[in-house]
């Protein structure tokens, strides 16, 4: 009953807000977007299926090795040996960006490793909101490994919300704090090459990852390891082995198989002049 009330409240909230604004409520269901609805429903069904399966038998789930992710622990280990900090750059986008959310999940796991190794982690942020989340993630990570007293909130800092001022600030940290490992995961734009090149010059081991196609070439050229595209989203599940994240990874994997099937069937049909499948996928 409690859940029904909550869901009803969430569904009614936009209608109430529209009414409060003096606007008539729009249609509850937009049939022109049925294809998007079905795509989301299939994904949700896969998620629920894999979550139930992983809950019953977590050991049955196989995830292939991703070298870039293994390199993160190696980088933290190197920083510990050298007695120098680890620099974690969570990208320059707000927490509303899915890549930043993925980066925050990975930050939690990286911070746990850092806490276990008794190393320092520096997290300079461009967005105040991201800084707050990053601080929570790092604080929780230090709690998780039983070392809350080692957590230093001042190491998670806000620099500037101006893109290149932030970049200049992070460059300054790379040059003066001399971190032994630079981990750059999240959404990056024109600053990607500036950051990775400065990190390369400072001699740090660098692991980067983004789903921003235009910036990936720079990370690949200047960093030791790069998480390409979806590897960034897989990283959090790979590192944590958390049932929810693993079920997400598995669901997206099988969703890809479905996409491959649709493309193959659609292309064969299109070759013979049948175009009903592309028409079904048109967004109105």
């Amino acid at each position: 009953m409690k859940h029904v009330l909550r869901v009803s409240g969430i569904l009614l909230l936009p209608v109430l807000l529209q009414a409060a604004n003096g606007n008539p409520p729009g249609p509850f269901f937009d049939y022109l977007r049925l294809n998007v609805f079905l795509a989301v429903i299939v994904m949700a069904a896969l998620l629920i299926y894999f979550f139930q399966r992983i809950k019953k038998n977590p050991e049955s789930i196989f995830v292939r090795r991703i070298p870039g992710i293994d390199a993160i622990e190696e980088a933290v280990g190197r920083a510990t040996e050298m007695g120098r900090p680890v620099l974690y750059v969570p990208g320059i986008e707000d927490i509303t960006e899915i890549q930043t959310i993925a980066s925050m999940l990975i930050l939690g796991k990286v911070a746990e490793t850092v806490a276990r190794y008794k190393t320092t982690i520096l997290v300079p942020c461009r967005i105040p909101f991201v800084m707050t989340v990053a601080e929570e993630m790092v604080r929780q990570a230090f709690y998780n490994v039983g070392m809350p007293e080692d957590h230093r909130p001042e190491n998670i800092s806000f620099i500037s919300d101006e893109q290149f001022a932030y970049t200049a600030g992070v460059n300054g940290i790379m040059l003066r704090e001399k971190p032994a490992a630079n981990i750059m995961l999240g959404r990056f734009f024109a600053e990607s090459l500036i950051l990775s090149e400065t990190g390369f010059q400072s001699g740090a081991i660098q692991v980067a990852g983004t789903a921003e196609v235009t910036q990936l070439p720079f990370f690949i050229a200047a960093c030791d390891y790069t998480l390409i595209g979806e590897e960034l989203f897989a990283a959090s599940a790979y590192l944590s082995r958390d049932a929810k994240l693993l079920s997400n990874l598995k669901a997206t994997d099988y969703y890809k198989v479905l996409i491959v099937g649709i493309i193959v069937v659609g292309s064969i049909l299109a070759t013979f002049g049948y175009d009903w499948l592309p028409r079904m996928l048109t967004i109105h």
Binding site: T96, I101, T132, E162, A168, I220, L249, K250, I263, I283
Partner: protein, 238 residues
């Protein structure tokens, strides 16, 4: 307040000098990290942080909170309260209160993004990839369609994490990574071209103020040479 005096030729001239000086201070990093670069970096970070506060107040708080509340939409205060709750982060005992607005924003935007990504990054992309594999009388279009369809399929399978990349899957994923690397190479070249255009634009700006640029450049070089000589460590005798 009247800011028209900022358009006067003298102010524009002084602004140009400041631009030229700061550009050269930043370029001094090409030698190595030095006090000139540090000065410009700290100035840039400090000014942009202060500027950001004003921008956020005028572009976010006023139109999204102050104006609606003044116009009688009191429920906007709910979001104002969520914003104030964020400030509890500063308290050691009550910092847990700041988690509520965080949870609201992350949850709400994750939900909104599902639909947006579903439309733009999923369905539209699948639709664009479905191509006829034979275009009568046009071998170039046929080849192009094969490249699109096979390249996308191989690329998608590279990101399949539930199976080791061995055997037939290994071959396809290897082709997939080749497709990715070729596209990254093209993107790299294209972006570098854009960056070079930006650098040329910067040099053109400097050429508009040749005297001040030359003087500042000579001062920077002279100071860096003196600084390097004075801080050079003596070579240890064998």
């Amino acid at each position: 307040m009247d800011f028209t005096f900022l358009q006067s030729p003298t102010i524009i001239q002084i602004s140009g000098w400041i631009m030229a000086i700061l550009t050269l201070l930043i370029f001094s990093f090409l030698y190595k990290d030095n006090p000139f670069y540090k000065f410009a970096e700290h100035l840039f970070v400090g000014v942009s942080a202060g500027y950001g506060v004003v921008i956020v107040y005028n572009n976010v708080i006023v139109p999204n909170l102050v104006t609606p509340v003044m116009n009688g939409r009191a429920y906007y205060l709910i979001f104002g309260v969520l914003g104030v709750m964020m400030l509890f982060k500063l308290s050691r005992k009550l910092h847990w209160i700041s988690r509520w607005p965080l949870a609201y924003v992350v949850g709400a935007f994750a939900g909104i993004q599902i639909i947006a990504y579903g439309q733009s990054d999923l369905i539209t992309q699948i639709r664009a990839t479905i191509q006829p594999l034979w275009v009568a009388g046009d071998p170039v279009a046929t080849l192009s369609n094969w490249l699109i369809v096979f390249g996308v399929l191989a690329g998608i399978l590279y990101f399949f994490f539930s199976k080791k990349q061995t055997g037939a899957l290994g071959v396809v994923t290897k082709i997939g990574i080749w497709f990715l690397m070729i596209s990254f190479g093209a993107s790299f070249g294209y972006t570098v071209m854009g960056r070079i255009s930006l650098a040329i634009g910067r040099f053109q700006d400097l050429l508009e103020f040749p005297v001040i640029s030359t003087i500042v450049l000579l001062i920077i070089i002279a100071v860096l040479v003196v600084h390097t000589i004075m801080t050079r460590e003596p070579v240890a005798e064998e």
